[in-house]
Protein backbone atom coordinates (compact mmCIF):
# COMPACT_ATOMS: atom_id res chain seq x y z
CA UNK A 1 0.00 0.00 0.00
CA UNK A 2 1.72 3.16 -1.13
CA UNK A 3 0.96 6.75 -0.24
CA UNK A 4 -1.29 7.33 -3.26
CA UNK A 5 -3.60 4.42 -2.47
CA UNK A 6 -3.77 5.54 1.15
CA UNK A 7 -4.68 9.07 0.07
CA UNK A 8 -7.30 7.72 -2.33
CA UNK A 9 -8.84 5.50 0.35
CA UNK A 10 -8.94 8.41 2.79
CA UNK A 11 -10.63 10.54 0.15
CA UNK A 12 -13.39 7.92 -0.21
CA UNK A 13 -13.80 8.01 3.56
CA UNK A 14 -14.10 11.82 3.48
CA UNK A 15 -16.73 11.52 0.74
CA UNK A 16 -18.70 8.90 2.68
CA UNK A 17 -18.60 11.04 5.84
CA UNK A 18 -19.79 13.99 3.75
CA UNK A 19 -22.80 11.97 2.56
CA UNK A 20 -23.77 11.03 6.11
CA UNK A 21 -23.48 14.60 7.41
CA UNK A 22 -25.36 15.84 4.33
CA UNK A 23 -28.26 13.48 5.03
CA UNK A 24 -28.21 14.61 8.65
CA UNK A 25 -28.50 18.25 7.57
CA UNK A 26 -31.67 17.34 5.69
CA UNK A 27 -33.52 17.09 8.99
CA UNK A 28 -34.63 20.71 8.57
CA UNK A 29 -35.54 22.82 5.54
CA UNK A 30 -33.27 25.55 6.93
CA UNK A 31 -30.10 23.45 6.59
CA UNK A 32 -31.10 21.07 3.79
CA UNK A 33 -29.52 23.06 0.98
CA UNK A 34 -26.24 23.27 2.84
CA UNK A 35 -26.44 19.49 3.18
CA UNK A 36 -27.00 19.02 -0.51
CA UNK A 37 -23.95 21.15 -1.30
CA UNK A 38 -21.83 19.25 1.19
CA UNK A 39 -22.90 16.01 -0.45
CA UNK A 40 -21.90 17.46 -3.83
CA UNK A 41 -18.47 18.35 -2.42
CA UNK A 42 -18.14 14.80 -1.12
CA UNK A 43 -18.94 13.52 -4.59
CA UNK A 44 -16.31 15.77 -6.16
CA UNK A 45 -13.73 14.44 -3.68
CA UNK A 46 -14.70 10.86 -4.56
CA UNK A 47 -14.46 11.52 -8.30
CA UNK A 48 -11.11 13.25 -7.86
CA UNK A 49 -9.89 10.25 -5.86
CA UNK A 50 -11.04 7.84 -8.57
CA UNK A 51 -9.29 9.97 -11.19
CA UNK A 52 -6.06 10.07 -9.17
CA UNK A 53 -6.24 6.36 -8.66
CA UNK A 54 -6.60 5.45 -12.34
CA UNK A 55 -3.90 7.93 -13.36
CA UNK A 56 -1.60 6.48 -10.74
CA UNK A 57 -2.31 2.89 -11.75
CA UNK A 58 -1.75 3.88 -15.37
CA UNK A 59 -3.62 0.83 -16.64
CA UNK A 60 -6.17 2.84 -18.60
CA UNK A 61 -5.77 2.87 -22.38
CA UNK A 62 -6.30 5.88 -24.64
CA UNK A 63 -9.56 4.33 -25.82
CA UNK A 64 -10.50 3.95 -22.17
CA UNK A 65 -9.97 7.68 -21.58
CA UNK A 66 -12.08 8.57 -24.62
CA UNK A 67 -14.86 6.20 -23.60
CA UNK A 68 -14.86 7.54 -20.05
CA UNK A 69 -14.75 11.25 -20.88
CA UNK A 70 -17.20 11.18 -23.78
CA UNK A 71 -19.62 8.88 -21.95
CA UNK A 72 -19.39 10.72 -18.65
CA UNK A 73 -19.67 14.19 -20.17
CA UNK A 74 -22.54 13.15 -22.44
CA UNK A 75 -24.48 11.65 -19.55
CA UNK A 76 -23.76 14.66 -17.36
CA UNK A 77 -25.08 17.02 -20.04
CA UNK A 78 -28.29 15.00 -20.48
CA UNK A 79 -28.79 14.82 -16.71
CA UNK A 80 -28.21 18.54 -16.29
CA UNK A 81 -30.69 19.44 -19.02
CA UNK A 82 -33.34 17.11 -17.60
CA UNK A 83 -32.88 18.44 -14.06
CA UNK A 84 -33.03 22.07 -15.22
CA UNK A 85 -36.01 21.73 -17.52
CA UNK A 86 -38.32 19.43 -15.59
CA UNK A 87 -41.52 20.95 -14.26
CA UNK A 88 -42.03 20.40 -10.55
CA UNK A 89 -45.17 18.35 -11.22
CA UNK A 90 -43.02 15.99 -13.30
CA UNK A 91 -40.24 15.52 -10.74
CA UNK A 92 -41.31 11.96 -9.84
CA UNK A 93 -40.68 10.78 -13.42
CA UNK A 94 -37.24 12.34 -13.57
CA UNK A 95 -36.27 10.96 -10.17
CA UNK A 96 -37.34 7.55 -11.48
CA UNK A 97 -35.20 7.95 -14.59
CA UNK A 98 -32.11 8.97 -12.58
CA UNK A 99 -32.85 5.99 -10.40
CA UNK A 100 -33.03 3.71 -13.44
CA UNK A 101 -29.69 4.83 -14.83
CA UNK A 102 -28.05 4.47 -11.41
CA UNK A 103 -29.19 0.86 -11.17
CA UNK A 104 -28.20 0.29 -14.80
CA UNK A 105 -24.72 1.72 -14.21
CA UNK A 106 -24.23 -0.54 -11.18
CA UNK A 107 -25.12 -3.62 -13.23
CA UNK A 108 -22.80 -2.49 -16.05
CA UNK A 109 -19.90 -2.03 -13.64
CA UNK A 110 -20.39 -5.59 -12.41
CA UNK A 111 -20.81 -6.89 -15.96
CA UNK A 112 -17.66 -5.04 -17.04
CA UNK A 113 -15.70 -6.74 -14.30
CA UNK A 114 -17.13 -10.11 -15.35
CA UNK A 115 -16.31 -9.64 -19.04
CA UNK A 116 -12.75 -8.65 -18.13
CA UNK A 117 -12.18 -11.72 -15.97
CA UNK A 118 -14.22 -14.29 -17.92
CA UNK A 119 -12.13 -16.91 -19.65
CA UNK A 120 -9.06 -15.83 -17.74
CA UNK A 121 -7.66 -16.99 -14.45
CA UNK A 122 -11.17 -17.53 -13.14
CA UNK A 123 -13.41 -15.42 -10.93
CA UNK A 124 -13.30 -15.78 -7.16
CA UNK A 125 -16.56 -16.91 -5.66
CA UNK A 126 -17.06 -13.72 -3.65
CA UNK A 127 -16.79 -11.61 -6.80
CA UNK A 128 -19.04 -14.05 -8.66
CA UNK A 129 -21.75 -13.93 -5.99
CA UNK A 130 -21.71 -10.13 -5.95
CA UNK A 131 -21.68 -9.97 -9.75
CA UNK A 132 -24.65 -12.30 -10.11
CA UNK A 133 -26.61 -10.34 -7.47
CA UNK A 134 -25.80 -7.10 -9.25
CA UNK A 135 -26.85 -8.24 -12.71
CA UNK A 136 -30.16 -9.26 -11.13
CA UNK A 137 -30.91 -6.24 -8.91
CA UNK A 138 -29.50 -3.63 -11.32
CA UNK A 139 -31.54 -4.56 -14.42
CA UNK A 140 -34.72 -5.11 -12.36
CA UNK A 141 -34.32 -1.56 -11.03
CA UNK A 142 -33.50 -0.23 -14.48
CA UNK A 143 -36.52 -1.56 -16.33
CA UNK A 144 -38.82 -1.25 -13.31
CA UNK A 145 -37.94 2.43 -12.83
CA UNK A 146 -38.39 3.17 -16.52
CA UNK A 147 -41.86 1.59 -16.47
CA UNK A 148 -42.67 3.56 -13.30
CA UNK A 149 -41.48 6.76 -15.01
CA UNK A 150 -43.59 5.88 -18.06
CA UNK A 151 -46.64 5.39 -15.86
CA UNK A 152 -46.06 8.69 -14.07
CA UNK A 153 -45.59 10.48 -17.39
CA UNK A 154 -48.66 8.79 -18.88
CA UNK A 155 -46.72 6.97 -21.64
CA UNK A 156 -47.59 3.64 -20.05
CA UNK A 157 -51.11 3.06 -18.78
CA UNK A 158 -51.21 4.01 -15.12
CA UNK A 159 -53.96 1.48 -14.51
CA UNK A 160 -52.76 -1.85 -13.24
CA UNK A 161 -51.97 -3.91 -16.32
CA UNK A 162 -53.00 -7.40 -15.43
CA UNK A 163 -53.63 -10.15 -17.91
CA UNK A 164 -54.06 -13.88 -17.75
CA UNK A 165 -50.76 -15.67 -17.56
CA UNK A 166 -48.88 -12.62 -16.26
CA UNK A 167 -48.04 -14.45 -13.07
CA UNK A 168 -46.95 -17.42 -15.15
CA UNK A 169 -44.53 -15.25 -17.13
CA UNK A 170 -43.12 -13.80 -13.92
CA UNK A 171 -42.66 -17.30 -12.55
CA UNK A 172 -40.99 -18.48 -15.76
CA UNK A 173 -38.61 -15.49 -15.69
CA UNK A 174 -37.74 -16.26 -12.10
CA UNK A 175 -36.95 -19.88 -12.96
CA UNK A 176 -34.78 -18.87 -15.94
CA UNK A 177 -32.98 -16.17 -13.96
CA UNK A 178 -32.35 -18.36 -10.94
CA UNK A 179 -31.27 -21.29 -13.11
CA UNK A 180 -28.78 -19.24 -15.09
CA UNK A 181 -27.51 -17.63 -11.88
CA UNK A 182 -26.90 -21.02 -10.31
CA UNK A 183 -24.96 -22.10 -13.40
CA UNK A 184 -22.73 -19.02 -13.02
CA UNK A 185 -22.35 -19.53 -9.28
CA UNK A 186 -21.26 -23.10 -9.90
CA UNK A 187 -18.09 -21.57 -11.30
CA UNK A 188 -18.83 -21.34 -15.03
CA UNK A 189 -17.82 -17.90 -16.29
CA UNK A 190 -20.13 -18.02 -19.31
CA UNK A 191 -20.90 -14.61 -20.82
CA UNK A 192 -23.97 -16.05 -22.58
CA UNK A 193 -25.42 -17.10 -19.22
CA UNK A 194 -24.69 -13.64 -17.80
CA UNK A 195 -26.61 -12.09 -20.69
CA UNK A 196 -29.48 -14.50 -20.04
CA UNK A 197 -29.63 -13.42 -16.38
CA UNK A 198 -29.62 -9.75 -17.40
CA UNK A 199 -32.44 -10.29 -19.91
CA UNK A 200 -34.55 -12.25 -17.43
CA UNK A 201 -34.00 -9.53 -14.81
CA UNK A 202 -34.94 -6.76 -17.26
CA UNK A 203 -38.14 -8.58 -18.18
CA UNK A 204 -38.86 -9.25 -14.52
CA UNK A 205 -38.60 -5.51 -13.77
CA UNK A 206 -41.29 -4.89 -16.39
CA UNK A 207 -43.67 -7.61 -15.24
CA UNK A 208 -43.15 -6.52 -11.63
CA UNK A 209 -44.07 -2.86 -12.25
CA UNK A 210 -46.79 -3.15 -14.91
CA UNK A 211 -49.53 -4.45 -12.59
CA UNK A 212 -49.00 -1.67 -10.05
CA UNK A 213 -51.55 1.13 -10.19
CA UNK A 214 -50.89 4.87 -10.30
CA UNK A 215 -52.03 5.37 -6.71
CA UNK A 216 -49.29 3.13 -5.38
CA UNK A 217 -46.51 4.97 -7.19
CA UNK A 218 -45.11 6.71 -4.08
CA UNK A 219 -44.40 3.28 -2.60
CA UNK A 220 -42.95 1.87 -5.82
CA UNK A 221 -40.69 4.84 -6.50
CA UNK A 222 -39.33 4.61 -2.95
CA UNK A 223 -38.81 0.86 -3.22
CA UNK A 224 -36.96 1.13 -6.53
CA UNK A 225 -34.81 3.87 -4.99
CA UNK A 226 -33.85 1.43 -2.28
CA UNK A 227 -33.07 -1.27 -4.89
CA UNK A 228 -30.71 1.06 -6.72
CA UNK A 229 -28.87 1.82 -3.49
CA UNK A 230 -28.44 -1.91 -2.89
CA UNK A 231 -27.31 -2.45 -6.49
CA UNK A 232 -24.65 0.25 -6.12
CA UNK A 233 -23.48 -1.23 -2.81
CA UNK A 234 -23.18 -4.66 -4.43
CA UNK A 235 -21.17 -3.12 -7.26
CA UNK A 236 -18.90 -1.88 -4.47
CA UNK A 237 -18.47 -5.50 -3.34
CA UNK A 238 -17.61 -6.53 -6.92
CA UNK A 239 -14.87 -3.95 -7.39
CA UNK A 240 -14.02 -3.83 -3.67
CA UNK A 241 -14.67 -0.13 -3.22
CA UNK A 242 -15.78 1.27 0.15
CA UNK A 243 -17.17 4.48 -1.35
CA UNK A 244 -19.71 2.57 -3.40
CA UNK A 245 -20.59 0.26 -0.52
CA UNK A 246 -21.28 3.11 1.93
CA UNK A 247 -23.01 5.39 -0.57
CA UNK A 248 -25.19 2.53 -1.81
CA UNK A 249 -26.04 1.32 1.69
CA UNK A 250 -27.15 4.83 2.75
CA UNK A 251 -29.51 5.02 -0.22
CA UNK A 252 -30.74 1.49 0.39
CA UNK A 253 -31.66 2.48 3.96
CA UNK A 254 -33.25 5.75 2.86
CA UNK A 255 -35.38 4.10 0.18
CA UNK A 256 -36.34 1.30 2.55
CA UNK A 257 -37.53 3.70 5.24
CA UNK A 258 -39.54 5.75 2.76
CA UNK A 259 -41.10 2.59 1.32
CA UNK A 260 -42.35 1.52 4.73
CA UNK A 261 -43.52 5.04 5.66
CA UNK A 262 -45.44 5.42 2.40
CA UNK A 263 -47.03 2.00 2.60
CA UNK A 264 -48.09 2.70 6.18
CA UNK A 265 -49.52 6.12 5.25
CA UNK A 266 -51.57 4.45 2.50
CA UNK A 267 -52.71 1.72 4.83
CA UNK A 268 -51.25 -0.95 2.58
CA UNK A 269 -48.54 -3.54 3.04
CA UNK A 270 -45.50 -3.41 0.81
CA UNK A 271 -46.29 -6.96 -0.31
CA UNK A 272 -49.82 -6.09 -1.40
CA UNK A 273 -48.49 -3.09 -3.33
CA UNK A 274 -46.00 -5.30 -5.15
CA UNK A 275 -48.64 -7.89 -5.98
CA UNK A 276 -50.39 -5.08 -7.81
CA UNK A 277 -53.82 -4.76 -9.32
CA UNK A 278 -54.85 -1.97 -6.96
CA UNK A 279 -55.46 1.70 -7.66
CA UNK A 280 -56.76 2.67 -11.03
CA UNK A 281 -54.56 5.70 -11.44
CA UNK A 282 -55.22 9.20 -12.63
CA UNK A 283 -58.78 8.91 -13.83
CA UNK A 284 -60.09 7.09 -10.80
CA UNK A 285 -63.55 5.56 -10.78
CA UNK A 286 -64.95 9.07 -10.97
CA UNK A 287 -68.57 9.31 -11.89
CA UNK A 288 -71.10 12.11 -11.85
CA UNK A 289 -72.00 13.96 -8.66
CA UNK A 290 -75.17 11.90 -8.37
CA UNK A 291 -73.47 8.53 -8.63
CA UNK A 292 -73.19 7.86 -4.95
CA UNK A 293 -74.55 9.24 -1.75
CA UNK A 294 -78.07 9.07 -3.14
CA UNK A 295 -79.48 8.35 0.29
CA UNK A 296 -77.28 10.78 2.15
CA UNK A 297 -77.76 14.48 1.74
CA UNK A 298 -74.85 16.61 0.74
CA UNK A 299 -74.75 20.36 0.95
CA UNK A 300 -73.64 22.06 -2.25
CA UNK A 301 -72.20 25.52 -1.99
CA UNK A 302 -71.07 28.13 -4.49
CA UNK A 303 -67.67 29.78 -4.72
CA UNK A 304 -69.24 32.94 -3.23
CA UNK A 305 -70.49 30.99 -0.20
CA UNK A 306 -67.03 29.54 0.27
CA UNK A 307 -65.43 32.97 -0.05
CA UNK A 308 -67.70 34.44 2.61
CA UNK A 309 -66.83 31.64 5.04
CA UNK A 310 -63.12 32.06 4.36
CA UNK A 311 -63.14 35.84 4.48
CA UNK A 312 -64.64 35.84 7.97
CA UNK A 313 -62.56 33.00 9.38
CA UNK A 314 -59.66 33.74 11.67
CA UNK A 315 -58.01 30.34 11.26
CA UNK A 316 -58.00 28.38 8.01
CA UNK A 317 -56.28 25.07 7.28
CA UNK A 318 -55.88 24.10 3.63
CA UNK A 319 -55.67 20.37 2.90
CA UNK A 320 -54.22 19.78 -0.56
CA UNK A 321 -54.47 16.37 -2.19
CA UNK A 322 -53.72 14.56 -5.40
CA UNK A 323 -56.52 16.47 -7.21
CA UNK A 324 -54.69 19.74 -6.57
CA UNK A 325 -51.49 18.38 -8.05
CA UNK A 326 -53.33 16.85 -11.02
CA UNK A 327 -55.06 20.18 -11.76
CA UNK A 328 -51.74 22.04 -11.22
CA UNK A 329 -53.58 24.36 -8.86
CA UNK A 330 -50.69 24.90 -6.44
CA UNK A 331 -50.23 28.53 -7.49
CA UNK A 332 -53.93 29.30 -6.91
CA UNK A 333 -53.77 27.60 -3.51
CA UNK A 334 -50.72 29.65 -2.58
CA UNK A 335 -52.39 32.85 -3.77
CA UNK A 336 -55.53 32.16 -1.75
CA UNK A 337 -53.42 31.40 1.34
CA UNK A 338 -51.48 34.65 0.94
CA UNK A 339 -54.73 36.58 0.46
CA UNK A 340 -56.35 35.11 3.56
CA UNK A 341 -53.18 35.60 5.60
CA UNK A 342 -53.83 39.33 5.51
CA UNK A 343 -56.43 38.81 8.22
CA UNK A 344 -56.21 35.19 9.37
CA UNK A 345 -53.90 32.37 10.38
CA UNK A 346 -53.55 30.08 7.38
CA UNK A 347 -51.41 27.01 6.83
CA UNK A 348 -51.33 23.84 4.77
CA UNK A 349 -51.82 20.41 6.34
CA UNK A 350 -50.05 17.84 4.23
CA UNK A 351 -50.63 14.12 4.33
CA UNK A 352 -47.48 12.05 3.67
CA UNK A 353 -48.84 10.54 0.47
CA UNK A 354 -50.26 13.74 -1.04
CA UNK A 355 -48.86 13.97 -4.56
CA UNK A 356 -47.18 11.37 -6.73
CA UNK A 357 -44.06 10.63 -4.71
CA UNK A 358 -43.18 10.96 -1.03
CA UNK A 359 -43.38 14.62 0.01
CA UNK A 360 -44.21 15.80 -3.51
CA UNK A 361 -46.94 18.24 -2.42
CA UNK A 362 -44.46 20.21 -0.31
CA UNK A 363 -42.25 20.77 -3.33
CA UNK A 364 -45.18 21.94 -5.44
CA UNK A 365 -46.26 24.44 -2.78
CA UNK A 366 -42.70 25.58 -2.13
CA UNK A 367 -42.42 26.27 -5.85
CA UNK A 368 -45.55 28.42 -5.57
CA UNK A 369 -43.67 30.48 -2.95
CA UNK A 370 -45.42 29.08 0.12
CA UNK A 371 -42.86 29.44 2.93
CA UNK A 372 -41.99 26.07 4.47
CA UNK A 373 -43.12 27.32 7.88
CA UNK A 374 -46.68 27.18 6.46
CA UNK A 375 -46.33 23.52 5.44
CA UNK A 376 -47.33 21.32 8.36
CA UNK A 377 -46.89 17.59 8.58
CA UNK A 378 -49.85 15.44 9.54
CA UNK A 379 -48.79 15.01 13.18
CA UNK A 380 -48.23 18.73 13.66
CA UNK A 381 -51.44 19.70 11.86
CA UNK A 382 -53.92 17.32 13.48
CA UNK A 383 -54.07 19.02 16.90
CA UNK A 384 -54.87 22.30 15.13
CA UNK A 385 -58.11 21.22 13.43
CA UNK A 386 -60.46 21.61 16.45
CA UNK A 387 -59.60 25.31 16.66
CA UNK A 388 -59.81 25.93 12.91
CA UNK A 389 -62.81 27.92 11.65
CA UNK A 390 -62.58 26.47 8.17
CA UNK A 391 -60.76 23.45 6.76
CA UNK A 392 -60.50 23.79 2.99
CA UNK A 393 -60.00 20.40 1.34
CA UNK A 394 -58.75 20.64 -2.23
CA UNK A 395 -58.71 17.41 -4.21
CA UNK A 396 -58.01 15.14 -1.23
CA UNK A 397 -60.29 12.23 -0.46
CA UNK A 398 -59.39 9.05 1.43
CA UNK A 399 -56.85 10.83 3.65
CA UNK A 400 -59.70 12.87 5.17
CA UNK A 401 -62.24 10.05 5.62
CA UNK A 402 -63.25 9.75 9.30
CA UNK A 403 -64.24 6.13 8.59
CA UNK A 404 -60.56 5.33 8.99
CA UNK A 405 -61.02 5.55 12.77
CA UNK A 406 -63.52 2.69 12.74
CA UNK A 407 -62.62 -0.91 12.00
CA UNK A 408 -64.14 -2.94 9.22
CA UNK A 409 -63.63 -0.91 6.05
CA UNK A 410 -60.88 -0.49 3.45
CA UNK A 411 -59.42 2.64 5.06
CA UNK A 412 -59.57 1.38 8.67
CA UNK A 413 -56.41 2.25 10.51
CA UNK A 414 -55.13 4.57 7.80
CA UNK A 415 -53.57 7.70 9.30
CA UNK A 416 -55.83 10.62 8.33
CA UNK A 417 -56.00 14.37 8.71
CA UNK A 418 -58.69 15.19 11.29
CA UNK A 419 -60.52 17.53 8.96
CA UNK A 420 -63.91 16.58 10.44
CA UNK A 421 -62.91 18.21 13.75
CA UNK A 422 -62.77 21.68 12.20
CA UNK A 423 -65.71 24.02 12.92
CA UNK A 424 -66.66 23.96 9.25
CA UNK A 425 -65.36 22.24 6.16
CA UNK A 426 -65.28 23.22 2.49
CA UNK A 427 -64.44 20.52 -0.04
CA UNK A 428 -63.46 21.40 -3.60
CA UNK A 429 -63.83 18.31 -5.75
CA UNK A 430 -64.80 17.53 -9.30
CA UNK A 431 -67.45 14.96 -8.40
CA UNK A 432 -68.61 12.60 -5.69
CA UNK A 433 -66.29 9.98 -7.21
CA UNK A 434 -64.45 7.66 -4.89
CA UNK A 435 -60.83 7.84 -3.92
CA UNK A 436 -58.47 4.93 -4.44
CA UNK A 437 -59.97 3.00 -1.54
CA UNK A 438 -63.26 2.94 -3.46
CA UNK A 439 -65.56 3.91 -0.59
CA UNK A 440 -67.78 6.88 0.27
CA UNK A 441 -66.18 9.64 2.27
CA UNK A 442 -68.27 10.31 5.37
CA UNK A 443 -66.81 13.78 5.58
CA UNK A 444 -68.90 14.82 2.56
CA UNK A 445 -72.23 14.06 4.22
CA UNK A 446 -71.31 15.81 7.47
CA UNK A 447 -73.80 18.70 7.95
CA UNK A 448 -70.97 21.19 8.49
CA UNK A 449 -69.35 20.29 5.17
CA UNK A 450 -70.07 22.34 2.08
CA UNK A 451 -69.23 20.77 -1.28
CA UNK A 452 -68.01 22.95 -4.12
CA UNK A 453 -68.08 20.83 -7.26
CA UNK A 454 -65.37 22.15 -9.49
CA UNK A 455 -61.93 21.55 -10.90
CA UNK A 456 -59.38 22.49 -8.21
CA UNK A 457 -57.80 25.23 -10.29
CA UNK A 458 -61.06 26.81 -11.48
CA UNK A 459 -62.70 26.50 -8.06
CA UNK A 460 -59.82 28.18 -6.25
CA UNK A 461 -59.65 30.95 -8.86
CA UNK A 462 -63.37 31.68 -8.35
CA UNK A 463 -62.95 31.75 -4.58
CA UNK A 464 -59.98 34.12 -4.88
CA UNK A 465 -62.02 36.48 -7.08
CA UNK A 466 -64.93 36.41 -4.64
CA UNK A 467 -62.71 36.99 -1.60
CA UNK A 468 -61.08 39.95 -3.33
CA UNK A 469 -64.51 41.38 -4.15
CA UNK A 470 -65.57 40.97 -0.51
CA UNK A 471 -62.45 42.59 0.84
CA UNK A 472 -62.75 45.47 -1.60
CA UNK A 473 -66.40 46.21 -0.79
Amino acid sequence: MNSVTIAVDLAYLVAAAGFVVALHLMNSPATARKGSRLSWLGMIVAVAAALTSIIHDATITTTGWIVLSVGGAGGAAVGLIMARRVKMTDVPQVVSIFNAVGGGAAALVAAGDFVRLAGGAGISSRVMIATVLDVIVGPVTFSGSLIAAGKLQGWVSSSPVVFRGARLITAALTVVGVGASCYLLAGHDSTAMLILVVCAALAFGVTMTMPIGGADMPVVVALLNSFTGIAVAIAGFVIDNGGLIIGGALVGASGGILTVLMARAMNRSVISVMLGGFGTGDSGPATGPAAVGAGASIRRISAEDAAIQLAYASKVIIVPGYGLAAAQAQHEAAELAALLQEHATVFFAIHPVAGRMPGHMNVLLAEANVPYTDLKEMDAANPEFPTADVALVVGANDVTNPAARRPGNPVSGMPILNVDQAKSVIVIKRSMGHGYAGIDNELYIDPKTGMLFSDAKAGLAEIIASVKALVAS
Binding site: T5, V8, F19, A22, L23, M26, S28, A32, S36, M43, A46, V47, A49, A50, L51, T59, G64, V67, L68, G71, G72, A76, V78, G79, L80, A83, V91, V95, N99, V101, G102, A105, A106, L108, V109, V115, R116, A222, G229, A235, F237, D240, G242, I245, G247, G248, A249, G252, A253, S254, L258, I350, M357, G359, N362, A366, E367, N369, Y372, L375
Partner: protein, 106 residues
Protein backbone atom coordinates in the same frame (compact mmCIF):
# COMPACT_ATOMS: atom_id res chain seq x y z
CA UNK B 1 -9.70 0.17 -2.05
CA UNK B 2 -8.41 -3.21 -1.04
CA UNK B 3 -10.18 -4.35 2.04
CA UNK B 4 -11.51 -7.86 1.81
CA UNK B 5 -14.92 -9.34 2.13
CA UNK B 6 -15.30 -9.10 5.90
CA UNK B 7 -14.59 -5.39 6.17
CA UNK B 8 -16.82 -4.80 3.14
CA UNK B 9 -19.67 -6.45 4.99
CA UNK B 10 -18.89 -4.42 8.15
CA UNK B 11 -19.06 -1.21 6.15
CA UNK B 12 -22.29 -2.23 4.45
CA UNK B 13 -24.12 -3.14 7.64
CA UNK B 14 -22.90 -0.14 9.63
CA UNK B 15 -23.73 2.26 6.79
CA UNK B 16 -27.28 0.90 6.65
CA UNK B 17 -27.66 1.46 10.39
CA UNK B 18 -26.22 4.97 10.20
CA UNK B 19 -28.49 5.69 7.23
CA UNK B 20 -31.50 4.49 9.19
CA UNK B 21 -30.65 6.71 12.17
CA UNK B 22 -30.06 9.81 10.07
CA UNK B 23 -32.94 9.41 7.65
CA UNK B 24 -35.70 8.70 10.17
CA UNK B 25 -35.12 12.28 11.38
CA UNK B 26 -35.90 13.85 7.99
CA UNK B 27 -39.34 15.52 8.09
CA UNK B 28 -41.92 14.41 5.53
CA UNK B 29 -41.87 17.97 4.15
CA UNK B 30 -38.46 17.13 2.68
CA UNK B 31 -39.11 13.59 1.49
CA UNK B 32 -38.99 14.44 -2.20
CA UNK B 33 -35.68 16.35 -1.94
CA UNK B 34 -34.40 13.54 0.29
CA UNK B 35 -35.19 10.99 -2.35
CA UNK B 36 -33.54 13.12 -4.99
CA UNK B 37 -30.51 13.67 -2.74
CA UNK B 38 -30.13 9.97 -2.05
CA UNK B 39 -30.53 9.44 -5.77
CA UNK B 40 -27.59 11.76 -6.27
CA UNK B 41 -25.55 9.88 -3.65
CA UNK B 42 -25.93 6.59 -5.48
CA UNK B 43 -24.32 8.49 -8.35
CA UNK B 44 -21.13 7.41 -6.53
CA UNK B 45 -21.42 4.50 -8.96
CA UNK B 46 -19.50 6.84 -11.30
CA UNK B 47 -16.40 5.81 -9.37
CA UNK B 48 -17.17 2.26 -10.48
CA UNK B 49 -17.52 3.47 -14.07
CA UNK B 50 -14.04 5.07 -13.82
CA UNK B 51 -12.55 1.82 -12.65
CA UNK B 52 -14.39 -0.21 -15.31
CA UNK B 53 -13.07 2.14 -17.99
CA UNK B 54 -9.54 1.94 -16.63
CA UNK B 55 -9.53 -1.86 -16.86
CA UNK B 56 -11.33 -2.28 -20.18
CA UNK B 57 -9.30 -3.87 -23.00
CA UNK B 58 -11.90 -5.37 -25.31
CA UNK B 59 -14.65 -3.87 -27.46
CA UNK B 60 -17.25 -5.33 -25.14
CA UNK B 61 -15.41 -3.88 -22.15
CA UNK B 62 -15.27 -0.43 -23.75
CA UNK B 63 -18.95 -0.58 -24.67
CA UNK B 64 -19.93 -1.48 -21.11
CA UNK B 65 -17.68 1.23 -19.70
CA UNK B 66 -19.12 3.82 -22.08
CA UNK B 67 -22.74 3.12 -21.15
CA UNK B 68 -21.83 2.88 -17.45
CA UNK B 69 -20.06 6.26 -17.61
CA UNK B 70 -23.00 7.80 -19.48
CA UNK B 71 -25.59 6.47 -17.01
CA UNK B 72 -23.52 7.37 -13.96
CA UNK B 73 -22.76 10.87 -15.26
CA UNK B 74 -26.46 11.45 -15.87
CA UNK B 75 -27.32 10.09 -12.44
CA UNK B 76 -24.82 12.14 -10.48
CA UNK B 77 -25.08 15.50 -12.26
CA UNK B 78 -28.84 15.31 -12.77
CA UNK B 79 -29.41 14.16 -9.19
CA UNK B 80 -27.50 16.99 -7.60
CA UNK B 81 -28.86 19.75 -9.82
CA UNK B 82 -32.45 18.61 -9.33
CA UNK B 83 -32.00 18.39 -5.55
CA UNK B 84 -30.49 21.85 -5.37
CA UNK B 85 -33.21 23.27 -7.60
CA UNK B 86 -35.90 21.91 -5.29
CA UNK B 87 -34.21 22.90 -2.05
CA UNK B 88 -33.70 26.50 -3.09
CA UNK B 89 -37.49 26.81 -3.29
CA UNK B 90 -37.90 25.99 0.40
CA UNK B 91 -37.79 29.44 1.92
CA UNK B 92 -38.81 31.02 5.14
CA UNK B 93 -41.55 33.60 5.12
CA UNK B 94 -40.19 36.27 2.80
CA UNK B 95 -39.21 39.59 4.35
CA UNK B 96 -41.17 42.58 2.99
CA UNK B 97 -40.06 43.51 -0.55
CA UNK B 98 -38.51 46.82 0.58
CA UNK B 99 -35.78 44.89 2.39
CA UNK B 100 -35.50 42.27 -0.28
CA UNK B 101 -34.78 44.21 -3.42
CA UNK B 102 -31.56 42.42 -4.27
CA UNK B 103 -32.84 38.89 -3.99
CA UNK B 104 -32.87 37.04 -7.28
CA UNK B 105 -36.09 35.60 -8.57
CA UNK B 106 -36.13 31.96 -9.40
Amino acid sequence: MTTGLMSDIYMFVLAILVGYEVITKVPSTLHTPLMSASNAIHGIVIVGAFITASQARTDAGYALAFVAAFFAGMNVVGGYSLTDRMLQMFRKRPVPPAHDGTKELS
